[in-house]
């Protein structure tokens, strides 16, 4: 496997994950499926940060877990450094897992309360049989603790002795232990206080610069994603509806859902308080029974008859992003809903 310069680190093609819905206790019958991820394709380039945004139930966390192989895909393909890892097992899977690590949302439940910080951060070494000597491992762990801004003297403390922000640093240290190529951060700051959020975001950016990491950053907070990511993919009901460079996507969203999301973000600047906030009606439909064709057509302000018959493909819209929409937003419409570039 050669690491060709232009080759993306991760290639995802037509990824599908359906969770079966069953009825009956003894004899289970399949009565349907939650279409958590339904035909998602994207690349992650080496060294970039790709953001996945979307609301609850859009499939962003499922996508991350599929890439990590924590879940098995229903269909589709995941390539890591050109190698198809979709169906890897055993030793081969373990070898690939060394290259990719994950940081979870809840720093309280993702650390074993009965283990010391030293053994939590050292666990990846134990699993992969690295840094075997006792002194050696301790040194490696303390070096990691120092890198992420933890006091190495706290090696023997337990998770409950740390605050939320510090726990998230422990999670970062554990994820970085094996020097992975890919780091997936699933809502890494949404459980943290505002002042602590910035500490963790800066740490992630700093680590990425220093270690040349490739980062997949999942969040529902669009301001955080804009700050962190080079490219952004917007998901809705298991599909990517728009993907492109952050600047292009935030300045000139083409998919009406991207526009609605951006319009909905409260702006921490009273001078910019907008009169025209675009409100979507209703809630996100159930992924067990998503709308036909374009999945957004039931809430879309621009929907026409065609949207419920003909599923729009993800296409280059000529303004930097690719969007899955028959009737993409015009610059006048973007201005109307009060998105940033329009000011």
């Amino acid at each position: 496997m050669s690491a060709a310069a232009g080759e993306p680190l991760v290639q995802v093609r037509g990824l599908v994950k359906h969770f079966p819905l069953t009825r009956g206790i003894v004899i289970q019958r399949k009565v349907g499926a939650v279409q958590a991820v339904d035909g998602v394709s994207f690349d992650v380039q080496r060294g970039e940060t790709l953001g996945l945004v979307g609301e609850t139930g859009c499939g962003k966390s499922t996508t991350a877990r599929l890439i990590m192989r924590l879940l098995d895909a229903t269909s589709g393909e995941i390539r890591f450094e050109g190698q198809d890892i979709t169906h890897l097992k055993g030793a081969q899977l373990k070898a690939v897992r060394r290259e990719m690590q994950m940081i979870f949302q809840d720093p309280y439940s993702s650390l074993n309360p009965r283990k010391t910080i030293g053994s939590i951060i050292g666990e990846p070494f134990a699993i992969h049989g690295l840094e075997q000597g006792k002194g050696e491992r301790r040194r490696a762990v303390q070096e990691l603790m120092e890198t992420v801004g933890l006091n190495p003297e706290h090696y023997n403390r337990y998770p409950h002795e740390f605050s939320g922000g510090q726990r998230q640093r422990i999670g970062v240290a554990r994820a970085l232990a094996l020097k992975p190529k890919l780091l997936i951060a699933d809502e890494p700051v949404s459980a943290l206080d505002v002042s602590i959020q910035a500490q963790v975001l800066n740490l992630l950016r700093d680590m990425q610069r220093r270690l040349g990491l490739t980062l997949v950053f999942i969040a529902h907070d669009l301001s955080v994603v804009r700050h962190m990511c080079d490219r952004v993919a917007v998901m809705y009901l298991g599909r990517i509806v728009e993907i492109g460079p952050g600047d292009a996507l935030y300045d000139f969203p083409r998919h009406p859902y991207t526009g609605a999301l951006l319009s909905a973000v409260p702006v921490a600047d009273p001078a910019a308080r907008r009169n025209e906030r675009q409100l979507l009606s209703g809630d996100v439909p159930s992924p067990a029974n998503p709308p036909q064709a374009c999945r957004f057509h039931t809430r879309c302000p621009k929907a026409q008859e065609r949207c419920s018959i003909d599923d729009p493909p993800l296409q280059d819209k000529g303004t930097g992003t690719r969007a899955a929409c028959h009737f993409p937003l015009s610059s006048e419409e973007v201005a109307e809903i009060g998105v940033r570039s329009a000011r």
Partner: protein
């Protein structure tokens, strides 16, 4: 009652809890006012006392063994001094509250309509039929589609946004004069959050109620509030009109909050400026100014002197609790605003160093 009299006036409110580890000073002498039909935003991080202050307003900390002192004057009546029965007549009637988590605040065994009917009949002597009609009307008011059918749904049949709407409907059932909303949108997605905020604004316009909105999200207060109180470690450290808080804040903690959030309009290349350290324990609070261990501009004397909330000269309605000189504060904010880091700002402004 004169038109000038505020709807709610909190005077030197203190709430303490005794625990095994010591006394928790959850709210430590806060004072604020809410005018009729206006919105006050209370901003702070977890553990700043913002929720306890509001629960106390409704007497909901009484059963928790809280020691409360100070005054909470609602239309001139001191809620702290009222009996439980008197308070019950006000709670849910003149003052209502919306909580953060809409799932755990609705009873899962009872239909939404039944819970709404109960809320109506708790304060109004009306028949069940009338109360049910009112429940349907309330659900329609908060934008639940097909309310005459949905009134017979159980909470689990509602989505998160609909549950929060139902909670708001319940809070509105007796047309309160004051609505306290504690992180009303934190559990919701952005598009649903936008719907709920728009709903609150519309209802405020239509019903003329005052709102106290408690949140950690500066974006939400910027859009909703007329005045803002910033809380830290059980105290209000700064209070001013919304425009002033965002335009000319004077407290280093407020600066820290504003500089630590990424914005849609900010530059991506700029690093965020986090507030160092973590919020203090409310049992063993730092000496002097409670913020001094995390404050980049702290002087040795700030470890001893406890600053009081004092008016900012020339700016009516703007109060700040900070020991720095007013002109130093303004110069520092000018630097921070221009994108300088705290240490650069400090070097540029040249705060006179005290002998330690």
């Amino acid at each position: 009652m004169s038109a000038q009299e505020p709807l709610l006036r909190v005077e030197d409110l203190r709430v303490e809890f005794s625990t095994e580890d010591g006394v928790v000073h959850a709210v430590d002498g806060i004072s604020y006012e809410v005018q009729r039909g206006r919105t006050l935003g209370i901003v702070g991080e977890s553990g700043s006392g913002k929720t306890v202050a509001s629960l106390t307003t409704l007497g909901l900390t009484r059963t928790q063994g809280a020691r409360v002192s100070g005054q909470i004057l609602f239309e001139g009546r001191d809620l702290v001094a009222l009996s439980d029965a008197e308070l019950r007549a006000i709670r849910g009637n003149d003052i209502a509250m919306v909580f953060q988590d809409p799932l755990s605040s609705l009873h899962p065994f009872f239909k939404v309509g039944v819970q709404l009917i109960e809320a109506v009949r708790a304060h109004q002597d009306v028949s069940k039929q009338l109360a049910r009609a009112r429940a349907i009307e309330l659900l329609r008011l908060v934008g639940i589609p097909d309310p005459s059918r949905r009134v017979d749904d159980y909470p689990h049949e509602f989505s998160g946004g609909m549950r929060q709407r139902a909670m708001i409907a319940m809070a509105l059932s007796n047309e309160p004069k004051l609505l306290i909303a504690d992180e009303p949108t934190t559990a919701l997605d952005v598009t649903v959050q936008a719907q709920i905020l728009a709903l609150l604004e519309r209802l405020q316009r239509e019903l003329g109620m005052a709102i106290v909105i408690i949140t950690h999200d500066l974006g939400v207060v910027a859009e909703m509030a007329d005045e803002i109180a910033v809380m830290y470690a059980g105290r209000i450290v700064e209070t001013a009109s919304t425009a002033t808080v965002f335009d000319a804040p004077e407290h280093p903690y407020t600066w820290g909050l504003l500089k630590s959030i990424p914005t849609l309009a900010g530059s991506r290349d700029e690093d965020l400026v986090p507030i160092p350290g973590t919020p203090p324990s409310l049992i063993r609070r730092p000496s002097g100014c409670h913020f001094h261990p995390r404050c980049p501009y702290s002087q040795p004397s700030h470890e001893r002197i406890d600053p009081q909330l004092a008016p900012v000269q020339g700016e009516p309605g703007h109060h700040v609790a900070c020991l720095l000189e007013a002109d130093v504060r303004r110069a520092l904010w000018a630097q921070l605003r221009a994108g300088r880091m705290p240490d650069e700002a400090l070097a540029a402004v040249g705060v006179p160093q005290e002998p330690a």
